[in-house]
Symmetry: C2
Subunit: 337 residues, 2 copies
Amino acid sequence: MTITVAIDCMGGDHGPRVTVPAAIQLVRNHSDVRVILVGLTESIRPFLGDAAVGRIALRHATEVVAMDESPALTLRTKKDSSMRVAINLVKQGDADACVSAGNTGALMAISRFVLKMLPGIDRPAICAVLPTLTGHTHVLDLGANVDCSPGHLLQFGIMGASLVSAIEHRDRPTVGILNIGEEEIKGNDVAKRAAELLWASGLNFIGNIEGDGLYKGEADVIVCDGFVGNVALKASEGLAQLLATFLRQEFRRNLFTKLAAVVAMPVLNKFKKRVDHRQYNGATLLGLKGIVVKSHGSADVLAFTRALQRATEEARSGVLARISERIAQQQPLQETA
Amino acid sequence: MTITVAIDCMGGDHGPRVTVPAAIQLVRNHSDVRVILVGLTESIRPFLGDAAVGRIALRHATEVVAMDESPALTLRTKKDSSMRVAINLVKQGDADACVSAGNTGALMAISRFVLKMLPGIDRPAICAVLPTLTGHTHVLDLGANVDCSPGHLLQFGIMGASLVSAIEHRDRPTVGILNIGEEEIKGNDVAKRAAELLWASGLNFIGNIEGDGLYKGEADVIVCDGFVGNVALKASEGLAQLLATFLRQEFRRNLFTKLAAVVAMPVLNKFKKRVDHRQYNGATLLGLKGIVVKSHGSADVLAFTRALQRATEEARSGVLARISERIAQQQPLQETA
């Protein structure tokens, strides 16, 4: 089966300078993948160079969504933006997935408007992969929904578990809910009621996960509301930057430490590669009738290629059908919730 | 002025084995500090050894609060626990502050019951110090309150700013609110309404801080509800452990990497010392009519000594009077909120 990925080439901090080389990389690495490069063709072409690779199509789009633009305004006015045209290609069945490094809010709004939600899902959720001591975990929502009901968190659990089942061919991935262990009350009201729904859901639910559990491999899927998920993810990014800065400063302190850095460099580079957040780039907008992957805005070619690969894997695995099936099973239960 | 610190010697994972040597360390380092060691004297004495240090008093308490005990039950039944007796010493004016590494929920419940809240403060908040690129920041609440109103977040801002003013002798510390930048909505409803109150408060409020801003030194004080604060803090702990584990694994991979580790060891040790979370041990329960500092349960002697130092500094700085004054100024404004 050939997979076609529509790429919003104009999105992100770097636009075609990153998105086009990443697209070329993707089709070079995967002989069964086609890409449609969407955007201002005059901006895209220079980066195509003489890449003698087939399976690359161009689709002109006259507008570009700015990173700080209002999603609502974008939705109403920019009907021919590269982002919207890429999403339209998925809607029309011309592409199996689309990827954008653009404005998250606009991507959410347009995707939801154009593709619509899967039956039984109220809202899309942003799902990303985080490294853990034992491998990795899928966490959702990471910022699409700031106020979630228990029922939404149940839907996130179902979608996350379906995604992991589909991509990693695992029957019953474990699902946990992010909560806090402090205090008598042990967590907030929404999390407690969501846990009740999850226990009754038939998912392989394992209960509460505290913040540090995000990186311990305690569950294959961890659900949380988008506010807390976003803060946890960004706090982690901030801490990683702090530690990297301090480590660099210590190795640059004097001649001796600089020599030590030279000796330690191969080890430090392996470490760096292992924890390289670019490897984890590409968050899925789950719950839509189509596959939409959001790349980090600052992604470089390596990172954006990873997001493209994620979209390809999801398209190949039939994740949408998996979610729909699972939600249909849940329906009677959910209605009583 | 002599400062007297009451120490719950039985709390934490290690009890007197850690708390007593830390107390000895504190009085050795500070000639104007007295300590009252509270707990089972027969358990405490062996660790006092022949420490020929004055300024150490013992106060027998017959009960011990277990780490997993229900706070409500503890509050009702264990009237002679080391934790409660230590807090009573503050209430009676026999101590200027107390420190415990015990059960957080019980410490909160007993402190609140025995000491009562400062006028104008509804709930206590847990405030801790985090390292940043430029120094450090105070963050509250870290788990005492899972559902906060905008007015509570305003109170946290006032308390945090008063604490920093008192301890660091700074006139107008900057205050930010933890929020998310994703989506059109830019944050949840409570955070938005709290920001309005904070803008109008007369505090040096600087607006929203995203998760990664926690470690960037963007504000001297960052307020958030206890659920999100606790998850962010624990997620950071989890990530730090993950990175430390991966770094260790890379340096232990083979003979060459082990040699590199030997060469890099002095640098790595300096780095480790710089980011050592033990240096930041000791969270303050702010808002009470008395100084109560909570140590991490797993604290070792170095970490517990830091918590004792924090309590000493707060007692010396007159932080409670500072909070009361600031809240009194705010009162008319708050009532309209």
